[in-house]
Symmetry: C4
Subunit: 219 residues, 4 copies
């Protein structure tokens, strides 16, 4: 048996993979708020000074908002994807772990962009990290669709799925490039990107009929 084939062995329980992944997702989105540090006030009772300090925190609030929405979108896609798999194997678990490594890294570029919103490199890195995360998700997606798809879903795949999926990473990379021209443009692109693909994925059968309602991800 060849070395790489060994990774296709084993039938692992999806429930624990989901539990571990859900834990990572939940902690990532909640840790993001820790970057919103309470400002230091000279006059503790001054509402004016506090409002001034909170306005200064605006880039941090915005970074937090963008990352939160994107991680929720990843969670939703992950939820959808694992619903397509009939079981897990070792290759999938490692692709999933590397994907989760990318997710758990998100608080760092988020904090960096929130702290230095005028630093073109910090804003650029934010987009690069999210582009990379989307590519890691696409790799996981392709592996599951090709190797672990539930039998009843075979042939129901959207032939344009990969092309559509590449919209995400491309858009983040456009934002990352835009940061060197205008950090404001980059912020706008990062904020708009999840909206492009926030709608539910559709699964079309070979005859073109929509198969979303019966796509087998029910509980």
């Amino acid at each position: 048996m060849r070395f790489f084939d060994r990774f296709k062995q084993g039938e692992l329980r999806l429930t624990r993979i989901e539990a571990f992944s859900d834990g990572v997702f939940a902690i990532v989105v909640t840790l993001l708020v820790l970057e919103l540090k309470v400002p230091v006030l000279k006059d503790h009772s001054s509402a004016g000074e506090l409002i001034h300090q909170l306005v200064e925190l605006a880039p941090k609030f915005l970074s937090w908002l963008i990352s939160f929405i994107i991680v929720c979108k990843f969670w939703l896609n992950h939820h959808h994807l694992l619903g397509l798999a009939r079981h897990a194997d070792y290759a999938m678990v490692w692709l999933n772990s590397i994907f989760l490594m990318g997710q758990s890294f998100i608080p760092f570029p988020t904090a960096l962009m929130g702290e230095y919103p005028t630093n073109r490199l910090a804003v650029c890195l934010f987009g690069c990290v999210f582009a990379l995360n989307t590519l890691l998700f696409i790799a996981l997606n392709r592996y599951i669709v090709r190797n672990l798809l539930k039998p009843e879903l075979l042939g129901l795949q959207d032939p344009h799925a990969l092309r559509k999926a590449m919209v995400g990473p491309l858009s983040y990379l456009v934002g990352a490039a835009a940061a060197w021209v205008s950090v404001h443009a980059a912020f706008v692109i990062y904020l708009l990107t999840p909206l492009f693909y926030i709608t539910p994925p559709s699964w079309h059968g070979p005859a073109g009929g929509a198969a979303t309602a019966g796509d087998g991800i029910r509980d």
Copy 2:
């Protein structure tokens, strides 16, 4: 098919939504304690200096206590609500994600009020955030009751439910307004608000019979 109708598609697994939500709730309540920082003592062995410093921390303990109780109440209501749904769709997942975003934000206003309990704006913001969170929950509640209710629960809704639900946000807003007169009054209102709606929700059938015991949220 119209754009917004696409969000009503898909049948998502409630178990993973609950797992993700439970993770966020659990992390939020546990992160709250991180704001209770160990005080810096000049004389490490002095019990007197420590007791003095712990008394200084009293507003932080109180903020922690109030937020903990309120988040637990949100968790309980969320638990109850998801027990009413027959399945999930994309619109519900996004309403749930935005609601969880509000929950994950709670450590920030809690820390702010704990750090600056005499700052009217900090105390006011605390109430505003909780009013907003309650509104986000009401939005999720309405969507589920109108679109995803289990068939056996149809017609069992409390006609006064919405009016009752508005007590929460109104009470928090009264607290937020009271902060500009007296921060002590605001603290008292924040502490009392969850007590108003801490009792179990009642579901009455059309004939007025109590239907709580059979409201379908059993495991």
Copy 3:
């Protein structure tokens, strides 16, 4: 219907209560390590300076160890206890929430004792918090055994259970009192207390036969 009776209504799903509780337990034990801060070295490459600094951290390691073991013990007892319940009601959920509030507070006294191990008040507070936590668990335990016990377990209760359960809080209070004489004695008592009740609980039937193997907590 009287006010307090309303809390005995509702049949809540034990699975979500367990998921929320497990999340809080898992986060508490893992957050404890955050108090073990990397020491500041003048000479970054000096093994000698690092070993000196790590020895200085010994009280923090010890506090971490004690709290970790005790929280695991609470988790185990909680696991056992919820296995006895046939379902949950609102009163149980609130007793559980208050118990979890106590658990989530544990990192604070742990950090305090680790930071100021020679401060009698800090060491005393540690014991008081754990005594209180044990009392909160006993309250939850009593409520479940009296109101929510699975029918097949009725009459199988250990008549000495409460007296045994009081060993924990008493021992912690003895430790808390000992802190005013010798902090070392208090550390020893805190370390030994979980060993007293680390063994599995036994359930004896009315005829005195051991009923542990069939105590209904199987999956």
Copy 4:
């Protein structure tokens, strides 16, 4: 009944043990990123200064990467192992708790090595902690295989399993020793160790036939 036999009593639910363990694993891997602190820049907008600071963070990124991969590997092995058990008893729960204590400790040596990558003691301690963690896992593994194995898996054990399992701790100890000669060599060994045993475990029947596909860990 002898004292130690009492620990072999009780049939505990594997689902909650898995939920608690998954929570700890998920939090550990996600907390690791908190050590990647946003650098302090003099000129907030300087990309050059930021890139210089990020290069300085390289040892922290590397420590984070190594620990993340290793903890994922532990999670995967733990997942596999608990799939072999027919139920849990108290001894297993305590072995599991001590193993999780080791896991939750990982952020500390990771941060230490990331902060002081030229300090031989810091790099050495990292290897020692992982060697100890692997030994704790082996202890848990042995206990389950000897006492709690599902009946259908009896006799399917790999006779070389223990010898293979010792490769991990030995390799980490070699790395720990190598740190005193060259910290770079130690980093390389730590990075390569998980690759040695990243492939799926094989279970061979007495007749030598591969039994992986039917090793009973399916959901």
